[in-house]
Symmetry: C2
C-alpha cells in the first residue's frame, strides 16, 4: 500500500425530501448569493427545480440562474458563468443535475477567483486550490462528481475533453434524493451504471501490491451494481434499487475505494475522444472501450483479471489455466453491459473505423506517450484498443 | 434504505512518516496552543512522541501535556484535562494513542466550552455540537475513534461506561502511520482486530431491507480482516498487513458502511459491563460476548445469519436447512477469534457466573428495557447471552 491522503468533507443529505435542507446548508457553508446551474428542462418537469427554489426562498437566499449545460459540458458556458458570477457577485454555486452540470459548476467556481483563463487548470494540470464553494443536487447516479474533487470539460476550440482536480472543488454539500432519478429512461440509467462501474475498475486494475482493503471495497461496489442494475432496468421506478445505485455511485468515486494504490484512467482517456468527436454519451462510450481495454491489457497481469472474474463475477477459477478465467470475467462484464442495453461496438456508437488514426493522434496531441497506468499505452496500443472495439 | 446524513470531514494522512505533517495540519485547522493527550510510556519508547514534538516545534506551536490515560478511560482524568485546558488557554487537543486516548481527548474537548458537567453528554445522550477541535495520532488499529464522532468514558462514581457522540467530536485530522503499530504485541493487536470486526457486525445485523451497498461494504471490511489478521499475528512487524488493518479500522467505524440502516450496538453495551467491572480489554470482552449474542438472536433472522456465513465466511449454503449454515458462520467467527488468540469464555476473562445478575442489573440501571436493536433485548435475554458466554 502506498502512502496517501484522504479528505472528503462533503456533507451528504440522502433520501426522500432531502432538498428541503438546501437553504439551511447554503447558509451553513457560507453562501449569501447563489448561482443555480443546470442543464435542460428535466429538472423543471420532475419538480426538483421547484423544490430547490422553495428551500432557498424559505431561507431568503437570493439567486441567479444559468441553464443550458449539455452532456460533455463545454467551455463556452463556463466562460458565460464566470462572467455572470462576477457581475452578480455570486459567492456560492449550486449545481442541479448530473455530472455535466456539476463539472460545469466546478469549472465556473474555479474560474471566478482566478485571474487567468480557467482552462489553464485543465490544460496544464494545475491543482485547484481556490474556488467558490460548490454544492450539488444530484439527479442521476453516474459521474460521482457529487463527492469528488474532479471536473471534466470539453474545450470548443479543438474539442479537447480534459479534466481538472483540486481540494477546493470537493462539494460542500450534496443532496442525493433517489426520487429525483425515477424519471430517467433506461438508456440514461444504464449509461450511469456503466460510468460508476468504470470508476471502480479504473481503480481496481493496479500494480500496487497489498491493497486488500481497497480491493475488497471495489469488489463490494461492483457486486452491488451487478445486483441492483437489472432491478432498476426492469423497473425504472424502483426506489430501493435507485437508492443503492445512487450511494454506490458516490462511493465509487470519492476515492475511498482508491486510496493507497496506483490507478489507471486510460479507458476514460480513450473514451473521451469518442464523446468529444461524436458527442456520444460517456457511459455508452465506456461500455464499448472498457472491455476492449481489458482484452488488450489482460496479459500484463492475468492473476488480477482472474481475481476480478472470480470475486466480482462469480466465475470458477481455472487453476490449470487462469487465462481462461480472466477471459470469462471480461466476457461476463461485456454480457452484463449488453444486458442493461449498452452498446458493445464502434458501429453502435456511429463511430468509424477509418477515424481510429485521427482519434489516436488527437488523444496524443495533448497527452505524452506512453499514457501511464496499469500497462503504459503507446499509440499502437490505443489503436489496437479502438480496433478491438470495432 | 432509510434516509440518512453522512458527514465525515476528517483529513487523513496515511503511511510512513505521516507525523511530519502534524504541525502544518494543526495550523490549518486553527490550533494555536495544543494539549497533547496520551496514555503511558509506549509512545515515548517507540519514537512517536518525539516525532509529534518535532513537528509541532518546527511550526513553533506551543503545547502542554497530559499523559496517564488508561484503557477504559476514566472521568477523573477528563476533569483534570478540562481544568488544564482552561487554565492554559489551550485551543486544540491532539490525542496520541489508541481509542482510549482519543475518547478521553474528545471528552475534554466537549467539556472545555461547556458550562455544566461534561458527563451530561454521556449520561443524558445530548449530542455534542460544540467542542474544541480534536485531532489524533493513531497508535493502534481498533476503536475507529480516529474517524468517528463517538467517545466512550467510564465514570468512576458507579463505574458506568457510557458513550457520547456529536459532529463537533469528529477529528479535524488523523495521522495513521502503520509503523507506529509495529511494536504492539499479539494480544493488543488481536483485541483491536476484534473491535474492528465488532464495529462492522453491529452495523451488519439490521432489520432494514434493501441495503445491498452497505451490506457489501461491511462484508468487504470483514473479509479484509479475515485475510490480513492471521498475517499480522504470525508476523507482528508485517507493515502491509498492519496498513490494511489500520485503514479497515477507520472504514469500519466512520459509518460509511452503516448509513441508511438501523444498527445494533447491544454487544458493545453488554461488553461494556465486563470491561467496567473487571477492567478486561474491550476487544477481549467482545470476543466472548459477540458469538454468544449471535447464538441468542440468530433465530430472529436466520437468512441474515446465513448470508453472513456464506458471503463473509465462505460457508456453503445449506438450502434445505439454512439454520445449519447460520450456525456454521457463527462457529467460524468464534474459531477465527480463538485462532488469533482471543478468549472465548467468561472464565478466560476471570469473569464470574455468579455476577451475571449483577452485571445485568447494572446495565439496566442506566438503560431502558428492552435494549433496542436487531432483536430487542430484555433482562432475561441479556442474562441468557452472558450465560451462553460462560
Amino acid at each position: 500500500m502506498e502512502n496517501f491522503r484522504f479528505y472528503a468533507p462533503t456533507y451528504f443529505c440522502f433520501g426522500h425530501n432531502a432538498e428541503e435542507n438546501i437553504g439551511e446548508l447554503v447558509k451553513r457553508f457560507g453562501g449569501s448569493k447563489v448561482l443555480i446551474h443546470y442543464g435542460g428542462g428535466s429538472i423543471k418537469r420532475n419538480g426538483v427545480y421547484d423544490r430547490v427554489i422553495q428551500s432557498l426562498t424559505a431561507e431568503n437566499i437570493p439567486y441567479v440562474e444559468l441553464g443550458g449545460v449539455k452532456p460533455n459540458p463545454r467551455s463556452g458556458l463556463v466562460y458565460e458563468g464566470i462572467a455572470l458570477c462576477r457581475r452578480e457577485q455570486v459567492d456560492f454555486i449550486l449545481a442541479v443535475g448530473g455530472g455535466s452540470a456539476i463539472d460545469s459548476a466546478k469549472a465556473i467556481a474555479a474560474g471566478v477567483p482566478y485571474s487567468g483563463d480557467f482552462w489553464d487548470y485543465y490544460s496544464k494540470g494545475i491543482p485547484v486550490n481556490e474556488a467558490l464553494p460548490v454544492a450539488t443536487v444530484l439527479t442521476i447516479a453516474a459521474a460521482g462528481s457529487e463527492g469528488s474533487p474532479d471536473t471534466v470539460i470539453t474545450h470548443e476550440e479543438g474539442m479537447y475533453k480534459r479534466g481538472a482536480t483540486g481540494e477546493a472543488l470537493r462539494p460542500k454539500f450534496s443532496i442525493l434524493n433517489p426520487d429525483a432519478t425515477l424519471t430517467l429512461d433506461a438508456f440514461q440509467t444504464a449509461c450511469g451504471i456503466t460510468d460508476i462501474m468504470a470508476h471502480v475498475c479504473e481503480r481496481y486494475f493496479t500494480n500496487t501490491r497489498d491493497v486488500e482493503v481497497t480491493d475488497r471495497l471495489c469488489e463490494a461496489v461492483l457486486k452491488t451494481m451487478i445486483e441492483e442494475s437489472p432491478k432498476v432496468i426492469a423497473n425504472l421506478t424502483d426506489y430501493q434499487a435507485r437508492a443503492n445505485i445512487m450511494w454506490a455511485g458516490m462511493v465509487a468515486h470519492n476515492n475511498i475505494v482508491g486510496v493507497g494504490r496506483a490507478q489507471d484512467w486510460n479507458s476514460h482517456r480513450i473514451e473521451h475522444e469518442l464523446s468529444a468527436r461524436y458527442d456520444v454519451a460517456h457511459g455508452a462510450g465506456l461500455a464499448v472501450i472498457m472491455p476492449a481495454w481489458m482484452r488488450h491489457v489482460m496479459h500484463h497481469d492475468i492473476t488480477r483479471f482472474a481475481q476480478f472474474a472470480v470475486r466480482v463475477w462469480g466465475c470458477d477459477m481455472n487453476f490449470a489455466n487462469p487465462e481462461i478465467t480472466a477471459r470469462e470475467g471480461i466476457q461476463r462484464f461485456r454480457a452484463f453491459l449488453t444486458s442493461i442495453g449498452m452498446p458493445a461496438t464502434f458501429a453502435q456508437l456511429d463511430a468509424k473505423a477509418e477515424d481510429i488514426a485521427t482519434l489516436t493522434e488527437h488523444l496524443f496531441s495533448a497527452e505524452s506517450e506512453p499514457l501511464p497506468g496499469f500497462m503504459p499505452l503507446y499509440k499502437k496500443d490505443v489503436e489496437a484498443i479502438y480496433t478491438l472495439a470495432l
